[in-house]
């Protein structure tokens, strides 16, 4: 007989693992990747491959040569960061910038805080915002979907629906007139618009979210809170003056809202632990996004909103605790 193992209970495990969750997220991003390749072709492939490879490589090099630890790139988390970074970049961005972004995302965003699970900010967004601030021109030139398929750096570019509407509204033109210049809501949902590689196809992102919910990789709280708060906030503004403010559907289907709400805001390490905390955090992201979009100087604000709420996560966790058993007052006996 073998030696008996004596250890405290529980003696069984769910079989869940870091890898299962990370590869699950990667799988959930496949529809969006496919949509990206469909709309942006060559550029989408080059940007995605470069970003994923660079992130994985940087993590490996830092762990092996700087920290002298065992490399854990096989856990899939660096690949997730790489894919999400790529999804947040235009598909005509030069290779050098992607590599810089990957170095910042992994090096500064993740490893400098202690690696997996320790990052206070979403690493991919740290990389993206670094690039946006440092290389604003390259980061805001958007290839035109389908037309840009065969080209990479020299792809045909055009404005995103968000910038068309923002500029139009601030020039005093009514929203009803501007809707003629942007794709239909159906086309927006399907992803036929200018934008970052992975953010355009709402339908693909929604599929990915459903997969993650079924696999219990994430819960509904953060995505619903982000989407719900944006819908309510922009809905109220739109109702108050339908010509001065775009409607909720426009805000939800354009820019990075769905990618942000489903995949960026739900980053484990940088989001709160309690359900109530998640709802507050998600609502904060939604409100800040709308404030930036409508009153800020950028047409898009999801990345900043997520990073700002990431900073509040420790505070939220400190003050907003999970609902306790017995919190509900006991029913009075008859």
């Amino acid at each position: 007989m073998n030696k008996l193992i004596v250890s405290p209970s529980p003696h069984v495990h769910s079989g869940d693992s870091v890898q299962k969750n990370m590869y699950g997220v990667l799988l959930a991003l496949v529809p969006a990747l496919a949509a990206s390749v469909w709309f942006f072709g060559l550029g989408a492939l080059i940007v995605t491959l470069t970003s994923v490879l660079a992130c994985v490589l940087f993590e490996h090099l830092i762990q092996k040569y700087l920290l002298k630890k065992q490399s854990t790139i096989m856990d899939g988390s660096a690949a997730v960061t790489g894919l999400l970074l790529a999804f947040n970049l235009p598909t005509n961005i030069p290779l050098g910038l992607i590599i810089i972004g990957a170095a910042i995302a992994i090096g500064m965003g993740k490893m400098s805080f202690g690696g997996l699970g320790q990052n206070p900010f979403n690493p991919a967004l740290v990389g993206r915002v670094f690039l946006l601030i440092s290389f604003p021109v390259q980061m805001t030139s958007w290839p035109v979907p389908i037309a840009a398929r065969g080209a990479y750096i020299d792809a045909v570019t055009g404005p995103t629906p968000l910038s068309v509407v923002k500029e139009g509204l601030s020039a005093g033109r009514p929203f009803s007139e501007l809707t003629a210049e942007i794709p239909s809501y159906l086309n927006l949902f399907m992803g036929q618009m200018g934008g970052s590689a992975g953010e355009v196809a709402g339908v693909a992102l929604l599929l990915g979210l459903l997969y993650m919910l079924i696999k219990k990789i994430v819960t509904w709280h953060i995505p619903v809170a982000v989407v719900g708060s944006i819908a309510v906030f922009t809905g109220v503004l739109h109702l108050s003056d339908p010509q001065a403010y775009a409607g909720p559907l426009f805000h939800l289907l354009t820019g990075g809202v769905l990618l942000g709400a489903f995949f960026m805001a739900t980053d484990y390490a940088s989001s709160p632990m309690s359900k109530r905390g998640m709802l507050l955090y998600g609502a904060g992201i939604g409100i800040i996004t709308v404030l930036i979009r409508i009153y800020g100087s950028y047409p898009e604000g999801v990345s900043f909103a997520i990073l700002i709420m990431n900073a509040f996560t420790p505070l939220i966790d400190k003050y907003i605790k999970p609902k306790r058993f017995g919190e509900k007052p006991a029913v009075q006996k008859a």
């Binding site: 007989m1 405290p8 529980p10 320790q118 632990m273 605790k321 609902k323 058993f325 029913v331």
Partner: protein
């Protein structure tokens, strides 16, 4: 929608391999070893010494306080010695060892199978009898049953909840008991209702046992005030607080007992033992033990005399599989890993589970990724991810503020953790330390 408890919970693979194995009577073993501490509370005091002749059902150790329990001889024969033996805790504890000779019972025990339905005893007499018979919570908690039937002054009970949940994977002893001893069980429930002076009893059964639900519903229809509550399969529904919440929607406040919300919970096994004690004058000398495991040849449910070494049960179930890596007394979620096959069955042994080698070891620990799954599954609404580092770093005051004492040690957090972190190990440490600190504080005050 089937009822269940409101917060958290997990659903481990059920693996109830022995669910269709009828209860078999295990032969009386040649030697039994009966630990004096097989219940919560003070260990019983031995009344016999080496060389004494004993009969089945004779008191051999006496309750040593209010929270304690009598122990009766499960066999007839001669006391070999009163010595220290390793029990399920892994430590050496005092035990009475008896060499079996024949099977001679104390005369006034009714060993017939005749069902005695009529209840003649008064509430006080029932409680007294239960105390004398050494009955403890047979679900595994082993809390002396008579104590739960004596509500503290000012508190009243209005509902008796009978725990037929058996939410632990693998275990089937309660399931088989409900199927095979349903009539007796209901009389036991009536006795408990009489003792507590309550008009309502709810039998909670998870719906992975549809046969038991149907059978008990049919039998219960003849009794006023007893009903079956089918429940959604969700671990740890057999926890007292979770079961009360699931059946009645009442939540026992932190640090309080079920009586606070007017409930008392007893396991089906306990109710059956109550029937035997009061109606048949038979003390607690045997229990049903599930012997199971993925590699075991013949998973079974044995009616086993207390003190039988588990090796006898394993032999009767087809022998110890070669790939055994761990032997668990109880279920896989809350059971104790045993140190040898010679550990005796005690009143709290609901099962013996043999885990094959690859499943017996824990997986390597990864860093916490803050996935919040431990928070989602905690049935008490705690933050295991936070309690573990607080205990690791000995920050006891913060652990207390984070309600570490509310933990019921169900293990859902460790079970779920994708990083296989030993959350419950550290939370247990936290509970022990914080408990000590709290006790010394009240002692000072």
């Amino acid at each position: 929608m089937l009822k269940t408890f409101s917060l958290g919970g997990v659903h481990p693979a059920e693996n109830k391999r022995s669910a269709n194995s009828p209860i078999e009577v295990l032969p009386v073993p040649p030697v039994v070893s009966i630990p004096l501490a097989q219940h919560i509370g003070a260990p019983a005091q031995a009344l016999v010494k080496k060389g004494d002749e004993v009969k089945v059902g004779q008191v051999i150790a006496q309750s040593a306080g209010f929270v304690s329990a009598n122990i009766h001889s499960p066999v007839s024969g001669k006391v070999a010695k009163v010595d220290q033996v390793v029990d399920a805790s892994g430590y050496r504890k005092a035990a009475i060892i008896i060499n079996t000779e024949g099977d001679e019972w104390v005369e006034d025990i009714d060993r017939s199978a005749i069902l005695v339905k009529e209840i003649t005893a008064s509430p006080e007499a029932i409680v007294k009898k239960i105390g004398e018979a050494g009955i403890v919570g047979l679900g595994g908690a082993t809390f002396p049953a008579h104590v739960k039937l004596s509500p503290p002054p000012g508190k009243t009970c209005d509902v008796l909840i009978i725990n037929g949940v058996e939410c632990e994977p693998y275990l089937t002893s309660d399931h088989r008991l409900m199927l095979e001893k349903g009539e007796e069980l209901l009389v036991g429930i009536r006795l408990l209702m009489t003792a507590l002076n309550v008009k309502e009893a709810i039998i909670g059964i998870e719906n992975n046992k549809p046969d038991a639900i149907a059978h008990m519903e049919k039998l219960a229809s003849e009794y006023e005030g007893i009903r079956v509550q089918p429940l959604k399969v969700q671990y740890p529904q057999g926890g007292e607080k979770q079961l009360i919440d699931a059946c009645m929607g009442r939540q026992v406040p932190s640090g309080k007992l079920p009586i606070e919300v007017g409930a008392v919970v007893h396991n089906v096994g306990t109710a059956y033992a109550v029937y035997e004690a009061v109606q048949k004058n038979k003390p607690l000398i045997e229990r049903i033990v599930t012997v199971t495991g993925l590699s075991l040849a013949r998973p079974a449910n044995f009616l086993t005399r207390i003190g039988t070494p588990i090796s006898a049960l394993i032999e009767a179930a087809g022998g110890l599989p070669d790939d055994t890596g761990k032997i668990i007394g109880g279920g896989p979620m809350m059971g104790k890993a045993l140190t040898s096959t010679e550990i005796p069955v005690t009143k709290g042994t609901s099962g013996v589970l043999l885990m094959p080698q690859p499943l017996a070891s824990r997986k390597p620990v990864d860093p916490c990724i803050r996935c919040a799954k431990c928070v989602s599954v905690c049935p008490m609404g705690l933050s295991p991810y936070l309690l573990m580092p607080l205990a690791e770093r000995a920050i006891w005051d913060r652990a207390e503020e984070e309600n570490v004492m509310d933990c019921i040690e169900c293990g859902s957090c460790s079970f779920t953790c994708p990083s296989s972190r030993p959350l419950l190990d550290y939370i247990r440490l936290g509970k022990a330390k914080v408990g000590q600190i709290m006790r010394s504080r009240t002692a000072k005050a």
